[in-house]
Amino acid sequence: MPREAPLLLPPFMRPPSRVAIRRALGYKLDLAPMLHETLVEFDLPVRSKTVLLKPNLVGSDPLCTTNTHPAVIAAARESFLRLGASEVLIGDGPALDRDTHAVIESIGLREYAGPLSRIFVDLNVDDVERVALKTRASRLKELYLPRTVRRADFIVSLAKLKTHHWAGVTLSLKNMFGIVPGAVYGWPKNILHWAGIERAILDINAAARPDFAIVDGIVGMEGNGPIQGAPRACGVLILGDDPVAVDSTCARVMGLLPEKIDYLRRAATLLGHIRPEMIHQLGESIEDTRTPFAVLDAFRHLRAAA
Protein backbone atom coordinates (compact mmCIF):
# COMPACT_ATOMS: atom_id res chain seq x y z
CA MET A 1 0.00 0.00 0.00
CA PRO A 2 1.35 3.45 -0.88
CA ARG A 3 2.10 5.66 2.05
CA GLU A 4 -0.78 7.92 3.10
CA ALA A 5 -0.28 11.57 2.24
CA PRO A 6 0.71 13.43 5.40
CA LEU A 7 -1.67 15.75 7.11
CA LEU A 8 -1.16 19.32 6.08
CA LEU A 9 -2.22 21.46 8.99
CA PRO A 10 -1.88 25.16 9.76
CA PRO A 11 0.12 25.87 12.91
CA PHE A 12 -2.88 26.69 15.11
CA MET A 13 -4.27 23.18 14.54
CA ARG A 14 -0.99 21.43 15.27
CA PRO A 15 0.11 20.15 18.69
CA PRO A 16 3.49 21.44 19.89
CA SER A 17 6.53 19.72 18.42
CA ARG A 18 9.48 18.18 20.23
CA VAL A 19 13.11 18.76 19.37
CA ALA A 20 16.16 17.40 21.19
CA ILE A 21 19.68 18.78 21.02
CA ARG A 22 22.33 16.30 22.06
CA ARG A 23 26.01 17.02 22.41
CA ALA A 24 28.30 14.74 20.39
CA LEU A 25 31.80 15.99 20.08
CA GLY A 26 33.10 13.58 17.47
CA TYR A 27 32.27 10.74 15.11
CA LYS A 28 34.54 8.31 16.90
CA LEU A 29 32.19 8.22 19.89
CA ASP A 30 29.69 5.39 20.03
CA LEU A 31 26.70 7.41 18.87
CA ALA A 32 24.14 4.59 18.82
CA PRO A 33 23.43 4.37 22.60
CA MET A 34 22.96 8.14 22.86
CA LEU A 35 20.76 8.24 19.80
CA HIS A 36 18.71 5.26 20.96
CA GLU A 37 18.22 6.77 24.40
CA THR A 38 16.96 9.99 22.83
CA LEU A 39 14.67 8.24 20.35
CA VAL A 40 13.07 6.28 23.21
CA GLU A 41 11.92 9.62 24.66
CA PHE A 42 9.94 10.27 21.47
CA ASP A 43 8.04 6.97 21.69
CA LEU A 44 8.02 6.56 17.92
CA PRO A 45 5.54 4.18 16.22
CA VAL A 46 8.14 2.10 14.40
CA ARG A 47 7.70 -1.36 15.87
CA SER A 48 7.37 -3.93 13.03
CA LYS A 49 7.49 -1.12 10.51
CA THR A 50 9.73 -0.38 7.53
CA VAL A 51 11.85 2.67 8.29
CA LEU A 52 13.61 4.58 5.51
CA LEU A 53 16.64 6.64 6.51
CA LYS A 54 17.27 9.36 3.97
CA PRO A 55 20.81 10.71 4.47
CA ASN A 56 22.24 13.70 2.62
CA LEU A 57 24.59 12.19 0.04
CA VAL A 58 25.56 14.89 -2.40
CA GLY A 59 28.68 13.60 -4.09
CA SER A 60 32.03 11.95 -3.54
CA ASP A 61 33.34 13.20 -0.23
CA PRO A 62 36.30 11.33 1.26
CA LEU A 63 36.61 13.85 4.12
CA CYS A 64 32.90 13.57 4.98
CA THR A 65 32.36 17.32 5.16
CA THR A 66 29.51 17.44 2.64
CA ASN A 67 27.50 14.30 3.30
CA THR A 68 25.80 12.99 6.42
CA HIS A 69 28.58 11.19 8.24
CA PRO A 70 28.37 7.37 7.94
CA ALA A 71 28.79 7.03 11.72
CA VAL A 72 25.51 8.91 12.18
CA ILE A 73 23.76 6.87 9.48
CA ALA A 74 24.92 3.59 11.03
CA ALA A 75 23.97 4.72 14.55
CA ALA A 76 20.49 5.72 13.38
CA ARG A 77 20.02 2.38 11.66
CA GLU A 78 21.09 0.47 14.75
CA SER A 79 18.82 2.60 16.96
CA PHE A 80 15.71 2.10 14.85
CA LEU A 81 16.34 -1.64 14.72
CA ARG A 82 16.61 -1.62 18.53
CA LEU A 83 13.29 0.21 18.66
CA GLY A 84 11.71 -2.78 16.91
CA ALA A 85 11.58 -1.72 13.26
CA SER A 86 11.27 -4.79 11.05
CA GLU A 87 13.47 -3.27 8.37
CA VAL A 88 15.64 -0.15 8.27
CA LEU A 89 16.59 0.87 4.75
CA ILE A 90 19.02 3.58 3.76
CA GLY A 91 18.08 5.40 0.56
CA ASP A 92 19.17 8.47 -1.32
CA GLY A 93 19.51 9.80 -4.84
CA PRO A 94 22.60 12.04 -5.02
CA ALA A 95 21.86 15.19 -6.98
CA LEU A 96 25.17 15.90 -8.63
CA ASP A 97 26.71 12.53 -9.28
CA ARG A 98 24.98 9.66 -10.98
CA ASP A 99 27.50 7.20 -9.57
CA THR A 100 25.83 6.56 -6.21
CA HIS A 101 28.10 3.58 -5.63
CA ALA A 102 31.15 5.85 -5.82
CA VAL A 103 29.52 8.32 -3.43
CA ILE A 104 28.84 5.74 -0.74
CA GLU A 105 32.25 4.16 -1.21
CA SER A 106 33.89 7.58 -0.85
CA ILE A 107 32.44 8.06 2.63
CA GLY A 108 33.09 4.47 3.71
CA LEU A 109 29.45 3.72 4.52
CA ARG A 110 30.04 -0.01 4.18
CA GLU A 111 32.64 0.05 6.94
CA TYR A 112 30.11 1.59 9.32
CA ALA A 113 26.81 0.00 8.27
CA GLY A 114 27.98 -3.40 6.97
CA PRO A 115 27.07 -4.95 3.62
CA LEU A 116 24.77 -2.58 1.76
CA SER A 117 23.33 -4.69 -1.05
CA ARG A 118 20.12 -5.50 0.83
CA ILE A 119 19.70 -2.30 2.81
CA PHE A 120 20.77 0.53 0.51
CA VAL A 121 18.39 1.80 -2.18
CA ASP A 122 19.61 4.12 -4.92
CA LEU A 123 16.53 6.32 -5.13
CA ASN A 124 17.72 7.77 -8.43
CA VAL A 125 16.97 4.52 -10.23
CA ASP A 126 14.25 3.02 -8.07
CA ASP A 127 10.85 2.20 -9.61
CA VAL A 128 8.66 5.29 -9.46
CA GLU A 129 5.05 6.27 -8.93
CA ARG A 130 3.38 9.42 -10.19
CA VAL A 131 2.21 11.63 -7.31
CA ALA A 132 -0.10 14.62 -7.73
CA LEU A 133 1.16 17.53 -5.63
CA LYS A 134 -1.40 18.91 -3.24
CA THR A 135 0.32 22.11 -2.27
CA ARG A 136 1.19 23.44 -5.75
CA ALA A 137 3.53 25.98 -4.19
CA SER A 138 5.83 25.69 -7.21
CA ARG A 139 4.96 25.34 -10.88
CA LEU A 140 5.07 21.57 -10.53
CA LYS A 141 1.75 19.79 -10.63
CA GLU A 142 3.05 16.29 -10.09
CA LEU A 143 6.27 14.43 -9.43
CA TYR A 144 7.48 10.89 -9.90
CA LEU A 145 8.66 9.62 -6.53
CA PRO A 146 10.53 6.40 -5.72
CA ARG A 147 8.42 3.43 -4.79
CA THR A 148 10.63 2.79 -1.74
CA VAL A 149 9.71 6.22 -0.40
CA ARG A 150 6.02 5.72 -1.14
CA ARG A 151 5.98 2.30 0.54
CA ALA A 152 8.03 3.15 3.63
CA ASP A 153 6.03 3.26 6.85
CA PHE A 154 8.28 5.79 8.53
CA ILE A 155 10.65 8.25 6.84
CA VAL A 156 13.60 9.81 8.63
CA SER A 157 15.37 12.75 7.04
CA LEU A 158 18.99 12.33 8.11
CA ALA A 159 20.48 15.64 7.09
CA LYS A 160 23.70 17.59 7.54
CA LEU A 161 23.93 21.02 9.18
CA LYS A 162 24.97 23.23 6.26
CA THR A 163 24.59 26.61 4.69
CA HIS A 164 23.34 26.70 1.10
CA HIS A 165 24.26 29.20 -1.58
CA TRP A 166 20.73 29.44 -2.97
CA ALA A 167 18.38 28.50 -0.12
CA GLY A 168 20.33 29.93 2.84
CA VAL A 169 20.54 26.65 4.72
CA THR A 170 20.09 23.00 3.84
CA LEU A 171 18.72 20.86 6.64
CA SER A 172 16.08 18.14 6.95
CA LEU A 173 13.50 19.71 4.59
CA LYS A 174 15.91 20.59 1.79
CA ASN A 175 17.46 17.13 2.22
CA MET A 176 14.26 15.67 0.79
CA PHE A 177 15.25 16.94 -2.67
CA GLY A 178 17.27 13.72 -2.75
CA ILE A 179 14.16 11.57 -3.06
CA VAL A 180 13.41 13.03 -6.49
CA PRO A 181 14.71 10.42 -8.96
CA GLY A 182 17.62 11.41 -11.17
CA ALA A 183 16.73 8.82 -13.81
CA VAL A 184 13.60 10.87 -14.47
CA TYR A 185 14.77 14.41 -13.78
CA GLY A 186 18.53 14.24 -14.33
CA TRP A 187 21.69 15.13 -12.42
CA PRO A 188 21.20 17.79 -11.12
CA LYS A 189 17.44 17.71 -10.67
CA ASN A 190 17.26 20.95 -12.54
CA ILE A 191 13.49 20.98 -12.88
CA LEU A 192 13.27 21.75 -9.15
CA HIS A 193 15.50 24.80 -9.57
CA TRP A 194 13.39 26.02 -12.46
CA ALA A 195 10.25 25.50 -10.43
CA GLY A 196 11.74 27.61 -7.61
CA ILE A 197 13.85 25.91 -4.94
CA GLU A 198 12.01 27.34 -1.94
CA ARG A 199 8.59 26.44 -3.30
CA ALA A 200 9.70 23.01 -4.52
CA ILE A 201 10.94 22.21 -0.99
CA LEU A 202 7.41 22.76 0.29
CA ASP A 203 5.85 20.65 -2.49
CA ILE A 204 8.20 17.71 -1.99
CA ASN A 205 7.85 17.68 1.78
CA ALA A 206 4.10 17.95 1.55
CA ALA A 207 4.10 14.92 -0.75
CA ALA A 208 6.49 12.88 1.41
CA ARG A 209 6.82 14.60 4.77
CA PRO A 210 9.52 13.03 6.93
CA ASP A 211 8.07 11.54 10.10
CA PHE A 212 11.24 12.32 11.96
CA ALA A 213 14.38 14.36 11.37
CA ILE A 214 17.94 13.93 12.58
CA VAL A 215 20.52 16.55 11.65
CA ASP A 216 24.22 15.74 11.81
CA GLY A 217 25.73 18.88 13.28
CA ILE A 218 28.80 17.24 14.76
CA VAL A 219 30.73 18.87 11.94
CA GLY A 220 28.63 21.07 9.68
CA MET A 221 29.49 23.33 6.77
CA GLU A 222 29.52 27.13 6.68
CA GLY A 223 30.02 29.73 3.96
CA ASN A 224 29.62 28.56 0.39
CA GLY A 225 27.66 25.38 1.18
CA PRO A 226 26.36 22.86 0.37
CA ILE A 227 29.55 21.60 -1.31
CA GLN A 228 32.28 24.18 -1.37
CA GLY A 229 31.94 25.65 2.09
CA ALA A 230 34.26 25.19 5.06
CA PRO A 231 33.80 22.56 7.77
CA ARG A 232 32.38 23.98 11.00
CA ALA A 233 32.56 21.92 14.18
CA CYS A 234 29.34 22.34 16.10
CA GLY A 235 29.28 19.17 18.21
CA VAL A 236 25.55 18.45 18.17
CA LEU A 237 22.90 16.12 16.87
CA ILE A 238 19.51 17.81 16.54
CA LEU A 239 16.48 15.59 16.22
CA GLY A 240 12.74 15.77 16.47
CA ASP A 241 9.31 14.73 15.32
CA ASP A 242 8.67 17.82 13.19
CA PRO A 243 11.12 18.66 10.38
CA VAL A 244 10.16 22.34 10.37
CA ALA A 245 10.79 22.61 14.10
CA VAL A 246 14.08 20.70 13.78
CA ASP A 247 15.27 22.98 10.97
CA SER A 248 14.19 26.09 12.85
CA THR A 249 16.15 24.91 15.88
CA CYS A 250 19.16 24.15 13.66
CA ALA A 251 19.01 27.65 12.21
CA ARG A 252 18.94 29.15 15.70
CA VAL A 253 21.94 27.03 16.71
CA MET A 254 23.72 28.33 13.59
CA GLY A 255 23.01 31.89 14.70
CA LEU A 256 20.43 32.47 11.98
CA LEU A 257 16.83 33.63 12.07
CA PRO A 258 14.54 30.85 10.76
CA GLU A 259 11.69 33.31 10.13
CA LYS A 260 13.87 34.98 7.50
CA ILE A 261 14.59 31.76 5.63
CA ASP A 262 12.06 31.76 2.85
CA TYR A 263 11.35 28.04 2.59
CA LEU A 264 11.15 27.57 6.36
CA ARG A 265 8.63 30.39 6.62
CA ARG A 266 6.57 28.76 3.86
CA ALA A 267 6.86 25.30 5.41
CA ALA A 268 5.64 26.67 8.73
CA THR A 269 2.26 27.46 7.17
CA LEU A 270 1.43 23.78 6.61
CA LEU A 271 4.12 21.35 7.70
CA GLY A 272 5.27 22.20 11.20
CA HIS A 273 6.22 24.78 13.78
CA ILE A 274 8.74 27.56 13.48
CA ARG A 275 7.85 29.55 16.62
CA PRO A 276 9.96 28.65 19.69
CA GLU A 277 6.94 28.67 21.99
CA MET A 278 5.48 25.78 19.96
CA ILE A 279 8.67 23.73 20.13
CA HIS A 280 9.25 21.71 23.29
CA GLN A 281 13.01 21.62 23.72
CA LEU A 282 14.74 18.51 25.06
CA GLY A 283 18.40 17.98 25.93
CA GLU A 284 20.77 20.92 25.57
CA SER A 285 19.56 24.48 25.12
CA ILE A 286 19.98 26.49 21.94
CA GLU A 287 21.93 29.14 23.84
CA ASP A 288 24.46 26.67 25.18
CA THR A 289 25.09 25.09 21.79
CA ARG A 290 24.90 28.18 19.59
CA THR A 291 27.74 28.18 17.06
CA PRO A 292 27.47 31.08 14.59
CA PHE A 293 27.96 29.90 11.01
CA ALA A 294 29.52 32.15 8.38
CA VAL A 295 27.15 32.89 5.50
CA LEU A 296 27.62 34.34 2.03
CA ASP A 297 26.98 38.07 1.70
CA ALA A 298 23.68 37.36 -0.01
CA PHE A 299 22.42 35.83 3.25
CA ARG A 300 23.72 38.34 5.79
CA HIS A 301 20.13 39.30 6.52
CA LEU A 302 19.58 35.83 8.02
CA ARG A 303 21.99 36.48 10.86
CA ALA A 304 20.54 36.93 14.34
CA ALA A 305 21.80 39.93 16.29
CA ALA A 306 24.69 38.95 18.54
Partner: protein, 319 residues
Protein backbone atom coordinates in the same frame (compact mmCIF):
# COMPACT_ATOMS: atom_id res chain seq x y z
CA UNK B 1 61.42 -10.73 -22.62
CA UNK B 2 59.54 -7.92 -21.03
CA UNK B 3 57.66 -7.29 -24.25
CA UNK B 4 56.73 -10.95 -24.52
CA UNK B 5 55.59 -11.06 -20.92
CA UNK B 6 53.38 -7.97 -21.27
CA UNK B 7 51.90 -9.39 -24.47
CA UNK B 8 51.02 -12.63 -22.77
CA UNK B 9 49.61 -10.70 -19.83
CA UNK B 10 47.47 -8.67 -22.25
CA UNK B 11 46.35 -11.86 -23.98
CA UNK B 12 45.49 -13.36 -20.62
CA UNK B 13 43.44 -10.31 -19.71
CA UNK B 14 41.66 -10.42 -23.04
CA UNK B 15 40.76 -14.08 -22.63
CA UNK B 16 39.69 -13.44 -19.07
CA UNK B 17 37.48 -10.59 -20.25
CA UNK B 18 35.89 -12.69 -22.96
CA UNK B 19 35.17 -15.48 -20.51
CA UNK B 20 33.59 -13.01 -18.11
CA UNK B 21 31.45 -11.58 -20.91
CA UNK B 22 30.27 -14.93 -22.20
CA UNK B 23 29.74 -16.64 -18.86
CA UNK B 24 28.52 -13.83 -16.65
CA UNK B 25 27.85 -10.40 -18.04
CA UNK B 26 25.87 -11.05 -21.22
CA UNK B 27 23.80 -13.91 -19.74
CA UNK B 28 23.02 -11.70 -16.72
CA UNK B 29 21.78 -8.96 -19.03
CA UNK B 30 19.70 -11.44 -21.02
CA UNK B 31 18.12 -12.83 -17.88
CA UNK B 32 17.30 -9.33 -16.64
CA UNK B 33 15.00 -8.67 -19.62
CA UNK B 34 11.33 -8.32 -18.72
CA UNK B 35 8.40 -10.06 -20.43
CA UNK B 36 7.50 -6.83 -22.24
CA UNK B 37 10.91 -6.82 -23.94
CA UNK B 38 12.29 -3.95 -21.90
CA UNK B 39 14.72 -3.74 -19.01
CA UNK B 40 14.33 -2.02 -15.67
CA UNK B 41 17.25 -0.59 -13.74
CA UNK B 42 17.41 -3.80 -11.71
CA UNK B 43 16.19 -7.30 -12.55
CA UNK B 44 12.48 -7.46 -11.84
CA UNK B 45 11.91 -3.73 -11.84
CA UNK B 46 9.65 -1.96 -14.32
CA UNK B 47 10.91 -1.54 -17.88
CA UNK B 48 12.23 1.90 -18.73
CA UNK B 49 13.71 3.38 -21.89
CA UNK B 50 17.16 4.17 -20.52
CA UNK B 51 18.19 0.74 -19.16
CA UNK B 52 16.57 -0.92 -22.17
CA UNK B 53 18.71 1.17 -24.50
CA UNK B 54 21.96 0.43 -22.64
CA UNK B 55 21.17 -3.29 -22.47
CA UNK B 56 20.43 -3.36 -26.20
CA UNK B 57 23.64 -1.51 -27.03
CA UNK B 58 25.67 -3.96 -24.95
CA UNK B 59 24.04 -7.15 -26.21
CA UNK B 60 24.08 -6.12 -29.87
CA UNK B 61 27.72 -5.14 -29.61
CA UNK B 62 28.56 -8.83 -29.33
CA UNK B 63 25.82 -10.87 -30.99
CA UNK B 64 22.38 -10.51 -32.49
CA UNK B 65 19.79 -12.18 -30.30
CA UNK B 66 16.09 -12.58 -29.74
CA UNK B 67 16.52 -10.27 -26.75
CA UNK B 68 17.49 -7.52 -29.17
CA UNK B 69 14.37 -7.90 -31.29
CA UNK B 70 12.13 -7.86 -28.23
CA UNK B 71 14.00 -4.85 -26.88
CA UNK B 72 13.51 -3.07 -30.19
CA UNK B 73 9.80 -3.83 -29.93
CA UNK B 74 9.68 -2.28 -26.47
CA UNK B 75 11.42 0.88 -27.62
CA UNK B 76 9.23 1.21 -30.71
CA UNK B 77 6.14 0.83 -28.55
CA UNK B 78 7.38 3.41 -26.05
CA UNK B 79 8.04 6.19 -28.54
CA UNK B 80 5.69 9.13 -28.16
CA UNK B 81 3.76 10.73 -30.99
CA UNK B 82 6.22 13.61 -31.31
CA UNK B 83 9.16 11.22 -31.80
CA UNK B 84 10.59 11.51 -28.30
CA UNK B 85 10.84 8.90 -25.55
CA UNK B 86 9.75 9.38 -21.92
CA UNK B 87 11.96 8.59 -18.94
CA UNK B 88 9.09 6.64 -17.35
CA UNK B 89 6.70 4.33 -19.15
CA UNK B 90 3.29 5.99 -19.28
CA UNK B 91 4.63 9.54 -19.12
CA UNK B 92 3.44 11.73 -22.00
CA UNK B 93 6.43 14.07 -22.23
CA UNK B 94 9.71 13.25 -23.89
CA UNK B 95 13.06 13.64 -22.19
CA UNK B 96 16.82 13.19 -22.40
CA UNK B 97 16.47 9.42 -22.80
CA UNK B 98 15.48 10.10 -26.43
CA UNK B 99 19.18 10.45 -27.24
CA UNK B 100 20.05 7.11 -25.66
CA UNK B 101 17.18 5.36 -27.47
CA UNK B 102 18.34 6.80 -30.82
CA UNK B 103 21.90 5.73 -30.06
CA UNK B 104 20.69 2.19 -29.33
CA UNK B 105 18.59 1.93 -32.48
CA UNK B 106 20.56 3.87 -35.07
CA UNK B 107 22.41 0.80 -36.32
CA UNK B 108 19.23 -1.15 -37.02
CA UNK B 109 17.91 -0.44 -40.53
CA UNK B 110 14.41 -1.61 -39.58
CA UNK B 111 14.27 1.16 -36.97
CA UNK B 112 15.29 3.98 -39.29
CA UNK B 113 11.87 5.68 -39.26
CA UNK B 114 11.73 5.53 -35.51
CA UNK B 115 15.24 6.96 -35.20
CA UNK B 116 14.57 9.71 -37.77
CA UNK B 117 11.56 10.89 -35.73
CA UNK B 118 13.62 10.80 -32.55
CA UNK B 119 16.44 12.82 -34.12
CA UNK B 120 13.96 15.37 -35.46
CA UNK B 121 12.56 15.83 -31.95
CA UNK B 122 16.07 16.20 -30.55
CA UNK B 123 16.96 18.81 -33.15
CA UNK B 124 13.84 20.84 -32.45
CA UNK B 125 13.97 20.53 -28.68
CA UNK B 126 15.78 23.66 -27.49
CA UNK B 127 16.65 23.97 -23.81
CA UNK B 128 15.08 26.67 -21.66
CA UNK B 129 18.39 28.53 -21.38
CA UNK B 130 18.58 29.14 -25.13
CA UNK B 131 15.91 31.89 -25.22
CA UNK B 132 16.73 35.61 -25.00
CA UNK B 133 14.27 36.12 -22.14
CA UNK B 134 15.93 33.57 -19.91
CA UNK B 135 19.37 34.88 -20.75
CA UNK B 136 18.35 38.42 -19.83
CA UNK B 137 16.69 37.33 -16.58
CA UNK B 138 19.73 35.27 -15.64
CA UNK B 139 22.06 38.20 -16.14
CA UNK B 140 19.86 40.39 -13.96
CA UNK B 141 19.09 37.86 -11.25
CA UNK B 142 22.43 36.15 -10.86
CA UNK B 143 24.64 39.17 -11.44
CA UNK B 144 27.93 38.57 -9.72
CA UNK B 145 26.84 35.26 -8.18
CA UNK B 146 27.85 32.87 -10.91
CA UNK B 147 30.94 32.97 -13.09
CA UNK B 148 30.26 34.51 -16.45
CA UNK B 149 29.85 32.24 -19.39
CA UNK B 150 28.80 32.57 -22.99
CA UNK B 151 25.02 32.21 -22.95
CA UNK B 152 24.92 31.91 -26.73
CA UNK B 153 26.15 28.34 -26.42
CA UNK B 154 23.59 25.73 -25.49
CA UNK B 155 23.14 22.00 -25.67
CA UNK B 156 20.40 19.78 -24.32
CA UNK B 157 18.60 19.62 -21.00
CA UNK B 158 17.55 16.69 -18.86
CA UNK B 159 13.87 17.65 -18.91
CA UNK B 160 12.04 19.84 -21.39
CA UNK B 161 12.79 23.55 -21.32
CA UNK B 162 15.28 23.56 -18.46
CA UNK B 163 19.02 24.36 -18.68
CA UNK B 164 21.71 22.68 -20.78
CA UNK B 165 23.92 20.18 -18.95
CA UNK B 166 26.98 18.22 -19.90
CA UNK B 167 25.60 14.67 -19.91
CA UNK B 168 22.35 15.12 -21.89
CA UNK B 169 24.27 17.32 -24.32
CA UNK B 170 26.91 14.64 -24.79
CA UNK B 171 24.29 11.92 -25.30
CA UNK B 172 22.53 14.03 -27.94
CA UNK B 173 25.81 14.73 -29.75
CA UNK B 174 26.60 11.00 -29.74
CA UNK B 175 23.15 10.17 -31.14
CA UNK B 176 23.17 12.82 -33.88
CA UNK B 177 26.78 12.23 -34.77
CA UNK B 178 26.51 8.46 -34.81
CA UNK B 179 23.31 8.10 -36.85
CA UNK B 180 23.21 7.57 -40.62
CA UNK B 181 23.43 11.04 -42.20
CA UNK B 182 20.19 10.61 -44.16
CA UNK B 183 18.30 10.33 -40.87
CA UNK B 184 19.78 13.48 -39.35
CA UNK B 185 17.89 16.76 -39.96
CA UNK B 186 19.91 19.49 -41.68
CA UNK B 187 19.29 21.84 -38.77
CA UNK B 188 21.18 19.48 -36.48
CA UNK B 189 24.48 20.91 -37.73
CA UNK B 190 23.88 24.19 -35.90
CA UNK B 191 22.81 22.36 -32.75
CA UNK B 192 25.96 20.25 -32.84
CA UNK B 193 28.20 23.31 -33.23
CA UNK B 194 26.54 25.10 -30.32
CA UNK B 195 26.65 21.97 -28.19
CA UNK B 196 30.32 21.30 -28.82
CA UNK B 197 31.17 24.92 -28.01
CA UNK B 198 29.15 24.62 -24.83
CA UNK B 199 30.98 21.46 -23.80
CA UNK B 200 34.39 23.02 -24.33
CA UNK B 201 33.34 26.07 -22.36
CA UNK B 202 31.99 24.05 -19.46
CA UNK B 203 35.20 22.07 -18.98
CA UNK B 204 36.64 22.39 -15.48
CA UNK B 205 39.90 24.27 -15.19
CA UNK B 206 42.59 21.60 -15.34
CA UNK B 207 40.49 19.25 -17.45
CA UNK B 208 37.48 17.02 -17.01
CA UNK B 209 33.83 17.86 -16.63
CA UNK B 210 31.24 17.78 -13.89
CA UNK B 211 27.51 18.04 -14.47
CA UNK B 212 28.03 21.49 -15.96
CA UNK B 213 29.19 23.92 -13.31
CA UNK B 214 32.93 24.49 -13.74
CA UNK B 215 32.70 27.46 -11.35
CA UNK B 216 30.24 28.20 -8.56
CA UNK B 217 30.55 31.45 -6.64
CA UNK B 218 34.07 31.84 -7.93
CA UNK B 219 35.16 28.43 -6.68
CA UNK B 220 36.29 25.84 -9.25
CA UNK B 221 34.07 22.77 -9.39
CA UNK B 222 35.55 19.29 -9.23
CA UNK B 223 35.38 17.11 -12.35
CA UNK B 224 33.58 13.76 -12.18
CA UNK B 225 34.23 10.55 -14.09
CA UNK B 226 30.81 10.09 -15.73
CA UNK B 227 30.37 13.55 -17.28
CA UNK B 228 34.05 13.58 -18.28
CA UNK B 229 33.73 10.30 -20.14
CA UNK B 230 30.53 11.27 -21.97
CA UNK B 231 31.92 14.67 -22.95
CA UNK B 232 35.14 13.07 -24.18
CA UNK B 233 33.21 10.56 -26.28
CA UNK B 234 31.02 13.33 -27.71
CA UNK B 235 34.09 15.38 -28.65
CA UNK B 236 36.31 12.48 -29.71
CA UNK B 237 36.55 13.67 -33.33
CA UNK B 238 39.03 16.32 -32.20
CA UNK B 239 41.48 14.30 -30.13
CA UNK B 240 44.29 16.78 -30.72
CA UNK B 241 42.51 19.64 -28.95
CA UNK B 242 44.24 20.60 -25.71
CA UNK B 243 40.95 20.34 -23.79
CA UNK B 244 40.65 16.69 -24.78
CA UNK B 245 44.24 15.87 -23.89
CA UNK B 246 43.96 17.72 -20.58
CA UNK B 247 40.78 15.85 -19.71
CA UNK B 248 42.31 12.51 -20.64
CA UNK B 249 45.24 13.38 -18.40
CA UNK B 250 42.80 14.08 -15.58
CA UNK B 251 41.01 10.79 -16.16
CA UNK B 252 44.27 8.85 -16.24
CA UNK B 253 45.63 10.56 -13.12
CA UNK B 254 42.45 9.93 -11.19
CA UNK B 255 42.09 6.26 -11.95
CA UNK B 256 42.98 5.38 -8.37
CA UNK B 257 40.03 7.41 -7.10
CA UNK B 258 37.62 5.32 -9.15
CA UNK B 259 35.78 3.36 -6.51
CA UNK B 260 32.85 1.98 -8.47
CA UNK B 261 32.21 -0.43 -11.33
CA UNK B 262 30.45 2.32 -13.30
CA UNK B 263 33.43 4.63 -12.98
CA UNK B 264 35.87 1.87 -13.92
CA UNK B 265 33.86 0.79 -16.97
CA UNK B 266 33.31 4.32 -18.26
CA UNK B 267 36.96 5.28 -17.72
CA UNK B 268 38.08 2.20 -19.61
CA UNK B 269 35.83 3.09 -22.56
CA UNK B 270 37.04 6.68 -22.87
CA UNK B 271 40.72 5.92 -22.39
CA UNK B 272 40.56 3.11 -24.93
CA UNK B 273 38.57 5.06 -27.54
CA UNK B 274 40.89 8.04 -27.27
CA UNK B 275 44.04 5.96 -27.51
CA UNK B 276 45.37 6.01 -23.97
CA UNK B 277 46.66 2.85 -22.38
CA UNK B 278 44.06 1.66 -20.00
CA UNK B 279 45.52 -1.37 -18.32
CA UNK B 280 44.89 0.34 -15.01
CA UNK B 281 41.21 0.75 -15.70
CA UNK B 282 40.93 -2.79 -16.95
CA UNK B 283 42.55 -4.05 -13.77
CA UNK B 284 40.14 -2.15 -11.59
CA UNK B 285 37.29 -3.41 -13.78
CA UNK B 286 38.43 -6.94 -13.03
CA UNK B 287 38.49 -6.23 -9.30
CA UNK B 288 34.87 -5.12 -9.39
CA UNK B 289 33.92 -8.13 -11.49
CA UNK B 290 35.46 -10.46 -8.96
CA UNK B 291 33.36 -8.88 -6.24
CA UNK B 292 30.19 -9.15 -8.32
CA UNK B 293 29.73 -5.40 -8.01
CA UNK B 294 29.20 -5.13 -11.75
CA UNK B 295 25.72 -6.50 -11.37
CA UNK B 296 24.29 -3.73 -9.23
CA UNK B 297 22.16 -2.41 -12.08
CA UNK B 298 21.53 -2.82 -15.78
CA UNK B 299 23.33 0.29 -17.12
CA UNK B 300 26.44 -0.57 -15.10
CA UNK B 301 26.49 -4.15 -16.41
CA UNK B 302 25.95 -2.81 -19.94
CA UNK B 303 28.78 -0.26 -19.63
CA UNK B 304 31.06 -3.02 -18.33
CA UNK B 305 30.28 -5.16 -21.36
CA UNK B 306 30.88 -2.18 -23.67
CA UNK B 307 34.18 -1.49 -21.91
CA UNK B 308 35.31 -5.02 -22.76
CA UNK B 309 34.43 -4.70 -26.45
CA UNK B 310 37.34 -4.44 -28.84
CA UNK B 311 35.29 -3.39 -31.87
CA UNK B 312 33.43 -0.39 -30.43
CA UNK B 313 30.70 -0.83 -33.04
CA UNK B 314 28.36 1.25 -30.91
CA UNK B 315 30.60 4.28 -31.37
CA UNK B 316 31.28 3.88 -35.08
CA UNK B 317 30.16 6.91 -37.03
CA UNK B 318 28.04 6.37 -40.08
CA UNK B 319 29.24 9.66 -41.54
Amino acid sequence: MENGSSKSQALGEFEDALAFLERSCLPWLERAQNEDGGWGFAPGSLSRVEPTSWALLALEEFRPSACGDRGLGFLQGSQLGDGSWPAVTGEKKGSWVTSIACLALCRRPEASNVVARGLRWLTEEWPGDSGWRWRLLRRLALRGRVEDRNDAYCGWSWTARTASWVEPTSYAVLALDGSPPDLVPAKARLRLQLAESMLYERMCSGGGWNCGNPMVYGVPGEPQVGPTVWALLALRRNPERPEIQQSLDWLEKNWNRVSSPAGAALSAIALDVLGRRNSISRTSLRNFRENDQTFCNVPVAAWTALALSKQRNWLQNHA
